[in-house]
């Protein structure tokens, strides 16, 4: 086992990755976690590479251009999705609503 992999194992346990995934509302199996650990060695390297770049006084670039293209419109209803269209793709629809498992037990 090389040193970097050792550091990753120490820092990131299987449980840590499971939690990351579950917070994003999906699961990872053991094989997927192993692959992610290899990815995180690179993420750590990348972090060190970024650290070596002086960005003092540089603003983050959020979009390519800064010319304004978005404006507030009048607060009037313009386009409405019909109830039929809005429910068209839901897997379970009952009485005009998206149906999900009981929330309040």
């Amino acid at each position: 086992m090389d040193i970097e992999r050792g550091i990753i194992l120490e820092k990131f346990s299987n449980e840590y990755f499971k939690k990351l995934a579950n917070d994003l509302r999906f699961d990872l199996n053991d094989e997927e976690i192993e692959a992610l650990k290899r990815d995180f060695i690179e993420v750590e390297k990348q972090e060190r590479l970024f650290e070596s770049i002086d960005t003092d006084g540089i603003e983050p670039m959020v979009y390519p251009f800064e010319a304004p293209t978005v404006f507030l419109r009048e607060d009037q209803v313009e386009e409405v999705l019909s109830q039929k269209d809005a429910l068209e793709n839901a897997a379970d629809v009952r009485m005009g609503h998206v149906h999900v498992p009981k929330v309040v037990k």
Partner: protein, 460 residues
């Protein structure tokens, strides 16, 4: 084929069906022609769309299992524009799942095959769109380019691939990947068709907050291949990194021809330290934006739903079954870079470095009309040998076209030559919203290569 060469909807549809066994380029095919205008710039032209473009009443999966049953209730703005111009949509093309990948191997329907060698990749993520044009079945297909997803497959399949300026074409109704980089573009077999396609597709759309107000010109009428006195930058940093001697020689021959046409060639370089940052900055920004964008894919209101005892369990089960391992890994990495404790050193840092890279890139364009580079450093890899790089290091010659996404500059790939029967390509980038100049230079380059309209038909 070229846009003006007529082909009926039925003929295109049947040829696409026949091609599936060899190319596997498509997710779904339209059985019947939908209504479109009988007159217009694209009257009667069959067009294929990448499967992340919403088409009312027609399956749109983004090649992801979680959307395998998704049928949009509205058309993307560009679908309306195409129909208004007389085009008929004939199929939806395969892509890397949700746009994430560069090989088109990571598609729900399996890899797409390169018409020049069926054992090789098409490139991705707009791979299906590339090969339906490259095989001469349709003259135009619409894709998206977040980090060279049109220009790289165009290079591997010997066609023209255009990513216009960020904001030029509306993204309303397109399943996103990374919003600060995503650009709609397209494939054709020649520059004149590429110029015409932008006339139809471009323009402000109030439904897309990033859509530009810049004027759209009649690019196809304005085309001028005269290179006399044109100043063309040669991106030496990229070209020197390319190892393949035949591709290098092909580019040098082009340089000689450009000089013979009166162009002034100017050597351009960017520090290697910056070039080596392209891929990490891209991955950081793209993964972070993707994980946020795709949080709405949860199986509740649309898409594939798995059962569960609670709403949380439904979402978790749907997303686990609905996304490939590769995509889930990217979401974890993207989300990690957005954590409060990591944001300043990862996501925000990448955004700052992006600005540094774009400043350096913009400097290259101060005294030139356009910048030329070898598009891809290798021929299309074999399907079996290619890997979707997760986080392994690769040469910046593989990733340099992502500068076009960071900066938003218009950028296109043109076929340049062949090695062992496989195409390689040149990439041309210009200043923002200067597509007219880009098409003019491309027209001159195309005269040099003599490769306008080339296709590789595949017999079933």
């Amino acid at each position: 084929m070229k846009i003006h060469e007529q082909k009926s909807f039925q003929e295109a549809r049947d040829q696409l069906k026949e091609s599936q066994a060899a190319l596997n380029a498509l997710v779904s095919i339209y059985e019947e022609k939908e209504p479109s205008k009988s007159e217009g710039k694209l009257a009667g032209v069959p067009v294929v769309l990448k499967d992340n473009i919403n088409t009312k009443g027609h399956l749109t999966t983004a090649s992801s299992k979680i959307l395998e049953n998704y049928v949009p209730v509205y058309d993307a703005t560009i679908v309306k524009k195409l129909k208004e111009a007389g085009a008929s949509i004939v199929a939806k093309a395969s892509m890397d799942e949700l746009g994430m990948g560069g090989t088109n191997r990571n598609a729900l329907t399996g890899p797409v095959h390169n018409p020049y060698d069926l054992d090789r990749i098409s490139g991705g993520s707009s791979g299906g769109c590339a090969v339906v044009v490259a095989s001469g079945i349709v003259p135009l297909s619409i894709g998206t380019d977040t980090g060279d997803s049109i220009r790289k497959p165009a290079a591997y399949t010997g066609v023209v691939g255009v990513k216009p300026t960020y904001g030029r074409i509306s993204r309303y109704g397109i399943i996103p990947y990374a919003s600060s980089l995503d650009t709609v573009g397209y494939f054709t077999t020649n520059v004149a068709d590429a110029a015409l396609a932008l006339e139809v597709l471009a323009g402000r759309d109030d439904h897309d907050m990033t859509s530009s107000y810049e004027e759209v010109l009649e690019y196809s009428q304005l085309l001028n291949a005269d290179l006399e006195g044109k100043r063309i930058g040669i991106f030496k940093t990229v070209n020197e990194e390319v190892k393949d001697p035949i591709i290098k020689a092909g580019f040098e021959q082009l340089e000689e021809k450009l000089r013979a046409k009166g162009a002034i060639l100017v050597e351009k370089r960017m520090p290697e330290q910056y070039m080596n940052l392209i891929a990490p900055v891209y991955r950081t920004i793209a993964n972070a934006e993707a994980t946020a964008n795709h949080s709405n894919l949860d199986g509740i209101r649309f898409g594939r739903r798995e059962n569960g005892e609670s709403v949380d369990a439904v979402m978790t089960n749907s997303r686990t079954a609905g996304f490939s391992s590769y995509v889930r890994a990217r979401f974890v990495i993207g989300s990690y870079s957005l954590f409060e404790e990591n944001q300043d050193k990862l996501f925000r840092k990448a955004q700052k470095i992006r600005r540094l890279l774009v400043r350096a890139y913009a400097d290259l364009f101060k005294d030139i009309d356009g910048l030329l580079a070898i598009a891809a450093p290798t021929l299309a890899p074999k399907i079996k040998e290619s890997s979707d790089l997760r986080f392994q290091e690769a040469s910046f010659a593989e990733d340099h076209m992502q500068l076009g996404n960071f900066s938003g500059y218009p950028s296109m790939t043109l076929p340049l030559g062949f090695e062992d029967g496989l195409p390689f390509a040149v990439n041309l980038t210009c200043r923002p919203f200067e597509e007219e100049t880009m098409f003019d230079l491309a027209d001159g380059i195309e005269e040099c290569t003599g490769l306008a309209g080339q296709v590789k038909e595949v017999r079933a």
